[in-house]
Amino acid sequence: MQKPRVAFFDFAGCEGDQLQVANLEEDILALLGQVDIVTFREVMKEHSDQYDIAFVEGSCTRLLDEDRLKQIRKNAKVVVALGSCAAIGGINCIRNYKDLEEVRRTVYGDQAKLFDTYAARPIDAVVKVDAYVYGCPINKEEFLQVVKSLLLGKKPDIPTYPVCVECKKNENVCAFERGQFCVGPVTRAGCDSCCVNEGTICWGCRGLVDNPNENSHKEVLIKYGLTVDDAIGKFKLYFGWQEAKR
């Protein structure tokens, strides 16, 4: 049987998710036994427009990106959004809360008009997406799990519960108990609460969980004497596109 042909592409993002793929180290060699990587500009000169699975990193931020994205969709049987920027719009959407003209002027001054842009968005705002690998950056194990599922023709098993579930299991001291604000209660799990485990908070990089329980999140805020303003600042880090759609 012919091995599935796999391609990697990137739009506006930091390429940290493709780096996570490179960081699989020896596991890449095992992966190469199962698939043929035919396009991966970051690591190879060769290029092909014939591929079965396209992994797309980064947000769509310009009208001219849409043509390239639509062509990828046309060429691929399966399109996978790789990482937060592609899957939920991610950190790029911070600027969607601002006047984009002013954003351009802040960075490029009186030559702003040379630099085309529109509200940053996830790739499923432009094309149909078949699978999502969340996270900023993606979790290597979850990436492998998604690849395995796709190769077996199964739906990847992505958690639909919040980060708090994993965080409790890891016996972390709750960030709210420590006087910090955390968006774990409304953020999709699957990261094993990695940031809280490292002594900080959940920043929400995997996006809002399906049907977030906002009322209970509000109760948590009230219980710990926090305000909606505290919440809004953190919500604006990664949830920009999802919030605008709700």
Binding site: A12, G16, R41, G90, E198
Partner: protein
């Protein structure tokens, strides 16, 4: 050679998107240009209105590959603005984090992106079958650097433990010593990679163009985390005066801003650091440079890759030294979920750090509530764009007796030698022979 059009859209094996355009008519180069069409990302606008304790988290996302460097430059800017100092122990741990990233990035560049050119392959993928031992050696070193990032930062990309004033969590001395032993055991791997690159180094073009080099420099050590700005043309200046060095300007064909200082361009990165700070290397590290005949001041940009190899050796050696010092001093433990006490105040601060691709500046202004009101980030690859462009304009006329394919390869190799991080600089690479 009569007429030739080269158009390389989105140069491969580099981070981000860039294009090369070369047009030759009747044996004369009419156009030779480096372009950066990457989608702009507007980070300096994104951080406005955000809190002081979030900026390092946001600006880390400028670049996946040098996220530790961006986080550190960001923290240093915030700490400078608010007069926050860190302990000597945290300083050493941050230096280790920076070594981890430099090693990871340099090995990725040398082993995955440069080596295929030297061994005549399109990528590392066919090398996995043709040179399995060599590829596995590179992967082992890469894995070790990532293990080190994990230990210091809590993960490999977009660090978690690095926070204003110190660390939210630190490794134990046992873990650090175990890391040190792994690094000592990795020295034969490092020597094997040096020999492998040496065996193919004849493929690196012997091209020379005099330019200015800029890097941090310190009287105490090979400067990476701290130092003054140093130029091979004009000498040293404090970090706060960085704007007089970077002089950013906008080029319509590039979404990245370009910079110039004493000449039309300057170069930053491993070769710039090597040229400015060679005397701080140990004899052992200098031996690796000697293998390649690399001495300061070297004006061949293709030797940047070799300077990266030399720096990798330095990072291993210096990391072992730092861990020994931590071990001798006794590592002071800290509470779980540590959050240093910080007195928020208004002010402006500049943070400069040497990251894999060169000197990086973050410059923030905060109001009394700790809200960011102004931000500027000058990224290494931005500072190299003009130098890449001028190198290409000098290189192509020397190659006109070669085939189009050979010229394309030389141009791509030139761009790769800089190890550009175009996402950082906006962000993207393409060669167009028009």
């Amino acid at each position: 050679m009569n007429d030739m059009n080269i158009e390389i859209h989105h140069v491969t094996r580099v981070e981000g998107h860039g294009n090369i355009y070369v047009n030759v008519k009747k044996g004369v180069v009419e156009k030779c240009e480096w372009q950066v069409p990457e989608a702009p990302r507007f980070f300096e606008a994104m951080v406005l209105g955000r809190q002081w304790n979030e900026l390092h988290h946001v600006t880390s996302r400028i670049c996946g590959i040098c996220s530790i460097g961006h986080t550190l430059a960001s923290l240093k800017a915030t700490e400078a603005a608010m007069g926050i100092t860190i302990s000597d122990q945290d300083l050493k741990l941050r230096k280790l984090a920076l070594h981890a990233e430099n090693m990871q990035s340099h090995i990725l560049h040398l082993g995955f992106l440069v080596l295929p050119d030297l061994l005549g392959a399109g990528s590392v993928i066919p090398l996995a079958s043709s040179n399995p031992q060599e590829v596995k050696t590179v992967l082992r070193l890469h894995r070790l650097a990532n293990e080190m990032s994990n230990l210091l930062c809590g993960r490999t990309t977009h660090p978690q433990r690095l926070i204003p004033g110190g660390f939210s969590k630190i490794p134990s001395i046992k873990e650090l010593v175990a890391l040190k032993k792994k690094m000592q055991a990795a020295i034969p791997d490092l020597q094997a990679v040096a020999k492998l690159i040496k065996s193919a180094a004849g493929k690196l073009p012997n091209f020379v163009r005099e330019t200015e080099f800029i890097a941090l420099s310190s009287p105490d050590e090979y400067a990476l985390y701290d130092g003054q700005i140093a130029s091979t043309d004009t000498g040293k200046a404090p970090v706060n005066e960085y704007l007089t060095f970077t002089n950013e300007y906008i080029v319509p064909r590039s979404t990245a801003k370009w910079t110039k200082h004493n000449r039309d361009s300057y170069m930053v990165g491993a070769l710039a650091r090597f040229n400015l700070n060679y005397d701080k290397f140990s004899p052992w590290t200098k031996q690796v440079a000697d293998m390649f005949g690399l001495k300061p001041t070297c004006y061949n940009p293709f030797m940047n890759s070799i300077a990266q190899l030399v720096e990798t050796v330095h990072s291993v050696e210096d990391s072992i030294r730092l861990i020994n010092e931590l071990e001798n001093a006794g590592l002071k433990p800290q509470p779980d979920y540590f959050k240093p006490e910080i007195k928020v105040k208004a002010g402006r601060g500049v943070g400069a750090v040497e990251v894999p691709r060169g000197i990086l500046f973050h410059d923030y202004t905060y109001n009394a509530k700790g809200v960011c009101t102004k931000a500027n980030c000058v990224i290494p690859t931005n500072q190299n764009h003009a130098n890449i462009d001028l190198d290409m304009k000098a290189l192509v006329p020397t190659l006109l007796d070669k085939s189009q394919k050979e010229i394309e390869l030389a141009c791509e190799m030139l761009v790769r030698a800089y190890d550009p991080c175009i996402s950082c600089s906006t962000h993207y690479t393409t060669v167009h022979f028009v």
